[in-house]
Amino acid sequence: MEQPLLEINNLKTHFKTERGRVTAVDGISFSVEKGEILGVVGESGCGKSVTAQSILRLFDEKYTASYEGEIKLQGENLLQLSKAEMEKIRGNEVSMIFQDPLSSLNPVFTIGYQLMETIRIHQNRTKKQARQMAIDLLRMTGIPSPEKRVSEYPHQLSGGMRQRVMIAMALACKPKLLIADEPTTALDVTIQAQILDLMLELNEELGMAVVFITHDLGVVAEVCTRVVVMYLGQVVEEANVEELFTTPLHPYTKGLMKAIPQMDGDRSQKLNVIGGTVPALNAIPSGCRFASRCEFANDLCKEKAPDLQVHEGNHKVRCWHYAEISNKEAARHA
């Protein structure tokens, strides 16, 4: 199996706060193959967005953030690169789009300026060439009359349009990997559908791998090929999308799946509930982090933290009793 495009080993991201050091991402490991769409799913505070931004080292490393572990892009560990080398990679080999289209574009510069900026940083193009490339990029992401839009300002466009501009900006230098941090969460459902279709087309056309961060399992099912489920700074389950939805193993993943009101679910049934609340990052319990909310937790879970074991193929899970739980449930249903 040739080398994966991106390989993250035991990534830890620490933040200095007034109340001491907080570890938002605590030993994350997963890899992304060329042209694959990997879903990273979890609830707020699970560290999925911190993981995404750690890949591009977007946090301020002088005063607040520090990293441990490895982030290998085609064998090269990004954590050891200098600032200048990192700046060459950002927007060129790996680029990113963000959640809130209203605030992710600079309000005082035109769309054209911000698009051309990416092009001219990484490729030596004249202003005229860069402008033409910008117009083509806008057309590629489905924006009507791109010649006019180029000289408009962000506040003149709708949320959906702005997200298309963000995607155009990210694709300016044909990156190998696109990190999408909840790109459609702030959009309406019909606009979200358009953006998701666009991303699927671009992934096929350009063979560009995508790390898709979201909290919406519906979006994961529609877009991703493989999924990583995160809880409180750790990966608790990793599987192909079919396996994850048909045979989820970790109690948290199962709980999440049953907690969502399904479009074809039984309306008379009460929704499944995951009790309690997520522990605070500076008060992480010993043992399994999900123990406080897990109905199957026993003393072993409370004392010793399980690590990510391989169930079969590339289906991994971080739970001591996932096998017994599945058998018990299978027995109950039979």
Partner: protein
């Protein structure tokens, strides 16, 4: 479940809310944004009507107009067959006891400077229910009903999580024993696992308090789960209204079809063809003529461009406003 001969408790007829936008450029005279344009529906006792639609469709303005948080520009709202829009503030206060609202953002729906018990007690003091220490008892009792402890009474909002704050919002709405509950995206600001706790709690409370509710949300699957009937809104107009099962199993209006098909399903292998609407939601400053959906509708006919479609009842309590059916 919707019982057919249920007694109607609130009749909304031709509700309108027009915001006038001062013409910024000389040539554009004072334009009007028709945020809510001639919306009519009925709330039946003990039922939950879901109001669903994308941002800017006027669903939340409709909710606020019923409580006159935003003064409507027209239409009538009959409660105990009196039009509450015409009542004087003093008379309207009685209605305000019976109609309570639950808001979306857990982090700004509670006064940060006041202990949560006090915030809940406000409603009792305003409607002079019980005397001083009786009120404290009533509040502690309602705290228990929403899954909090009586000693939470003395804590400040910043000491609670998002889910707990929504419970406090529910307690505040229910403490004066209302008959109608208007919920504006009560669970949209929460994570899935907390959202399910709140939705279950909401259904229990609706049964205990025999409440009639108007549930406003952009999340189709949540609305489907909790509503008995559903109305779909687009750019200020009510496009279609029906019992939940009818609407979700065979939607009639092209917009409803597109809306439901756009919702991503957390199931694998069910690749259904999706109707992807072309173009963007038109700007409310100059909405399209005739049927406002015609610019994006795959079945748009000439008549749709000129004439505004009438609301037609194609089946029992299943109405739609579309020329394909009038």
């Amino acid at each position: 479940m919707p019982n057919q001969q249920a007694e109607s408790i609130l009749q909304v007829q031709g509700l309108k809310k027009y915001f006038s936008v001062k013409g910024f450029r000389s040539k554009s005279k004072n334009q009007q944004v028709k945020a809510v344009d001639d919306v009519s529906f009925t709330l039946y006792k003990g039922e939950t009507l879901g109001l669903v639609g994308e941002s800017g469709c006027g669903k939340s303005t409709t909710g606020r107009a019923l409580l006159r948080l935003i003064e409507p520009s027209g239409g009538t709202v009959l409660y105990n067959n009196e039009d509450i829009l015409k009542k004087s503030p003093r008379e309207f206060r009685k209605v305000q006891k019976d109609m309570q609202m639950v808001f979306q953002d857990p982090f700004s729906s509670l006064n940060p400077r006041i202990r949560i018990g006090e915030s809940i007690k406000e409603s009792l003091t305003i409607h002079s229910i019980g005397n001083r220490n009786e009120r404290e008892e009533i509040v502690m009792d309602i705290l228990g009903k929403v899954g909090l402890r009586s000693d939470h009474y003395f804590r400040f909002p910043h000491e609670f999580s998002g889910g707990q704050r929504q419970r406090i919002g529910l307690a505040r709405a229910l403490v004066a024993d209302p008959s109608i509950l208007i919920l504006d995206e009560p669970a949209s600001g929460l994570d899935v696992s907390i959202q399910s706790q709140i939705l279950n709690l909401l259904q229990e409370l609706q049964d205990d308090f025999k409440l009639t509710s108007l549930f406003i949300s952009h999340d189709m699957s949540v609305v489907r789960h909790i509503s008995d009937r559903v109305g779909v809104m687009y750019l200020g107009k009510l496009m279609e209204e029906a019992d939940t099962d009818t609407l979700f199993s065979n939607p009639v209006h092209p917009y409803t079809k597109a809306l439901l098909s756009a919702v991503p399903i957390a199931k694998v292998g069910k690749k259904r063809e999706r109707i992807v609407l072309k173009g963007e939601i038109p700007s409310p400053l100059n909405p399209p003529s005739g049927c406002i959906f015609h610019t994006r509708c795959p079945f748009a006919m000439d008549v749709c461009k000129q004439v505004v479609p009438e609301k037609v009842e194609i089946q029992d309590r299943h109405t739609v406003a579309c020329h394909l059916y009038s």
